[in-house]
């Protein structure tokens, strides 16, 4: 379980990158949902938390592959492999990421 930041420091529509290995992107959607996925696009080498967030979709800033934050699956090319998704909780106003591998549910 990794503390990310205070909930109030990640406004809706924003995202933040956590420098784990591999890095994780945490997203706060306009609808107020929190999601975490592996931050590196499965196509080439771009940081998804730098992408374009729309609803539950994040568009990669390099070649516009789009991923569904709920499943990690790409919804269009050029990415073809899913990113791992991670569970997010908020405790005492702090956002935490539970890495999938730690919970034994690695992709």
């Amino acid at each position: 379980m990794i503390p990310v930041c205070r909930l109030e420091d990640l406004p809706e529509g924003e995202s933040v990158r956590v420098e784990t290995t591999p890095p994780v992107g945490v997203f706060h959607t306009e609808d107020g949902e929190l999601y975490a996925i592996d931050d590196t696009c499965t196509h080439q080498d771009a940081s998804l938390s730098e992408g374009w967030l729309e609803g539950c979709l994040i568009e990669c800033p390099l070649h516009a592959a789009s991923f569904d934050l709920r499943t990690g699956r790409p919804t269009c090319l050029p990415a073809r492999r899913a990113v791992r998704t991670h569970r997010v909780t908020v405790d005492d106003g702090i956002i935490h990421v539970h890495l999938a591998a730690e919970e034994g549910s690695a992709a």
Binding site: Q44, D45, G51, W52, P61, P78
Partner: protein, 492 residues
Amino acid sequence: MRTVTIVGASLSGLYAARELRAQGFEGRLVIVGDEAHRPYDRPPLSKDFLTGRTDETQLALTDPEETADLQAEWLLGIRARGLDPRTRTVLLDDGRAVPTDGLVIATGASARRLPGDHLTGIHTLRTLDDARALREELTRGPRRVVVIGAGFIGAETASSCAALGHRVTVIEAAPLPLLPQLGPEMAAVCAELHRRGGVELITGTGVAALRGTGAVMAVTGALGEGAVTGVAGACGAAGAMTGVAGACGAAGAVTGVAGALGAGAVTGVAEPYGEGVVTGVAGSHGWGAVTGAAGPPGSSAVAGSAGPRGSGTVTGVALTDGRTLPADIVIIGIGATPNTGWLTGSTLALHDGVLCDDGCVTSLPQVVAVGDVARVGGSRAEHWTSATEQPRVAVANLLAGRTVETVCSVPYFWSDQYGARIQFAGRRQDGDTVRIVEGDATAPDGGGFLALYEREGCTTAVLAVDRPRPFLRVRRELARGVGNVRAPSQSS
């Protein structure tokens, strides 16, 4: 439409195949590609593939599952050599003929070459085989590398070579690299990247000759070959704008050849990754005078029949300012020419690409062209993104039998050099002013910045170095046709 043939089994060809199936084409689909490989991605070749961070499996554009779903007949390692529009037949090198109702031309472009570039140690970088050969040579210990041309491919390759610990010099004929693409202010910033990466950049100087050991006989053959592959392009339309005053294989003959041909000074304008227009040719026997495959050889000196190939090894690059740079490896990055040779005599209009309307449709409604080979609505792009966007429109029009959709997108490309990610979108023109709206373009340690190009109060283009997020925002606004882009705030 019962049979559709796609010629060119790379990025745009594969995307066209996907679109054909996605848009409901259920007929026979034939894909012809002259490379033996399944479709692979080229951008990593000059970047992570050369440095060993990416391997061949990661270059693949498709997997066996998708390949099976496409239900196509793949004819790989076979070149199309002609199109007979009367009988609607694609002719293949192995003598076969494919009768077809619809044709997608996706033959891309080939690296420009220089006469004499068959010497061992001289490379171009366009294909996986090119990259394999270069990578192999770069793993044999420290080398002196000279890169001819400071366009994107030249710069990326130089950066990769430097990262591998080689001593690298880049030669660029123009006063600054990427001048036509980025304009003087931002071109100066890119020039600085080379220095920061420990690479020597020599600008304003052309290449007079490639020097090597070995047989002098090589020269005639090498030049003859150079002449028929169209050296005019090598100087004039080079994306890299590298002037070539005469190049040949072996040292002994340099002066004779240079004399016979004269030193044609050529200026060109070019768009990223090519899209060049020859704007002027000086010198009656300059390389400019030796035009493409069909053209007459410039002089008897270059008419030389095949002759023995350059069997020597490269030793250096002679510059037009009289200097010679010693080199163990020379990489020629002077742009690419569209692969239209096989369409000669087909009635299709060809002029630096296959001419098509805004919907990628050629003069024949059953023939569309996409990617690097296509001159769509008057301009040809050599960008990954156009090669992936055009097929959707082209296929819709092909299946409709006429132009029902046009391509409308904001040109976009990216480049990775010396650890910096450069992204550019829009249509810049000379005279546009540049405004830095984020970061500092002159900071010695980099750190990235975002620059807007403006004309008469409107944003025409955007350039970012290591600022993907605000870049994306501006790119989207440009695509939406927002004339005056809001400068992204520093916090975002």
